[in-house]
């Protein structure tokens, strides 16, 4: 499914939401979790994932931790306190957007419609 452009705008929210549900995750794990949750319909490209993770880290929303795993070093990401607050606001922002989009796509829908 070619939905890369649609995902681009919500990538940060997806990352933050996943990290809210899982205490800490590493890059490859995030791509696999998204694939698993959407039955392979949404694939986060590495080209977009890592710059987004680094940006969120620089904004203070994510913190990182280096751990030794099976003879290699792994970089784990987790939410900071600011990141935890940001998830709620990003989620309601995205939900609001989806609701409005739904209204545009199906104008007959009642205004109180919720996803």
């Amino acid at each position: 499914m070619s939905n890369n452009n649609l995902i681009k705008g919500s990538l940060q929210t997806i990352i933050l939401k996943l990290l809210e549900e899982n205490e800490k995750m590493y890059g490859y794990e995030i791509t696999q979790r998204v694939k698993e949750l959407t039955a392979g319909e949404i694939k986060i490209t590495e080209g977009a994932l890592y710059p987004a993770l680094h940006k969120l880290e620089a904004e203070g929303l994510l913190s990182t931790e280096i751990q030794q795993v099976d003879n290699r070093v792994r970089k784990y990401y987790s939410l900071t306190k600011d990141g935890q607050k940001e998830v709620t606001s990003k989620m309601s922002e995205l939900q609001g957007f989806v609701e409005n989009l739904q209204r545009i796509l199906t104008p007959d829908l009642k205004p109180g419609f919720n996803i």
Binding site: Y26, H54, K55, G60
Partner: protein, 226 residues
């Protein structure tokens, strides 16, 4: 899920080394991504999957990721310093800083020119010692990665690079402060109240700058490669 063989791991290390990356954070992230991905495929698919990864993690992409991480690390450290600064100067710390500055002024007024020059060198020496310590700590952490990926370029932490640049800016500014009056041949510049005011202002600025940078390093060093 399977474990990669030594031969396969060597092949992965070789392709990553060929990217000539210098950021330890990017190297470990890409290496972990490659190995995690390849471990989920049968050995018969190793070559084709490695090729697929190479199409995604191209030389250009990896270097752009590295440049972006360096920029992000710079912003990260600066915003960290700012947030530390906002909470660092509690009343006891503020009073302690004022006390040390007052002692510094008294000594400055009393001592000879030679001692004044020595006084200016003290913070520079402290920063050099601090830089050496930070570099050594990071070197110890990155040593294993360097050994694992036999890259033609020097691998070091992106955060270390940012901190080192910040520290060298402080020492360079001190040099500038000492050398500027000499360049313009200003006589007895150490007696000038402007010079005292400038050193004091710079001391205040650098004290806060280096203290917050040190605190940021202390916090970051718990989990990062510095």
């Amino acid at each position: 899920m399977r474990k990669l063989t030594e031969k396969e791991l060597d092949q992965v290390k070789k392709v990553i080394a060929a990217k000539e990356l210098t950021s330890a954070e990017i190297v470990i992230e890409i290496y972990d991504h490659y190995v995690s991905h390849l471990e989920s495929f049968e050995s018969s698919k190793f070559e084709s999957e490695l090729f697929e990864l190479e199409q995604k993690f191209t030389f250009g992409y990896c270097h752009s990721l590295q440049a972006k991480l360096f920029k992000a690390s710079k912003n990260d450290i600066l915003s960290f310093q700012w947030s530390i600064f906002k909470t660092y100067f509690t009343w006891p710390k503020f009073l302690a800083t004022t006390f040390f500055l007052a002692i510094y002024i008294i000594i400055w007024m009393e001592v000879e020119h030679k001692t004044k020059a020595q006084l200016l060198i003290i913070p520079m020496i402290s920063i050099v010692i601090l830089s050496a310590w930070i570099y050594y700590r990071s070197f110890k952490k990155v040593r294993k990665i360097k050994k694992m990926i036999d890259s033609p370029r020097t691998i070091e932490s992106s955060l270390l690079k940012v901190i080192m640049i910040q520290l060298s800016l402080i020492t360079s500014s001190f040099n500038l402060l000492i050398l500027t009056p000499k360049i313009f041949d200003i006589p007895e510049f150490m007696e000038s109240p402007y010079f005292l005011a400038a050193t004091l202002a710079l001391f205040l600025f650098y004290a806060s700058y280096s203290l917050t940078l040190f605190e940021a390093w202390k916090i970051k060093s718990r989990t990062a490669l510095i």
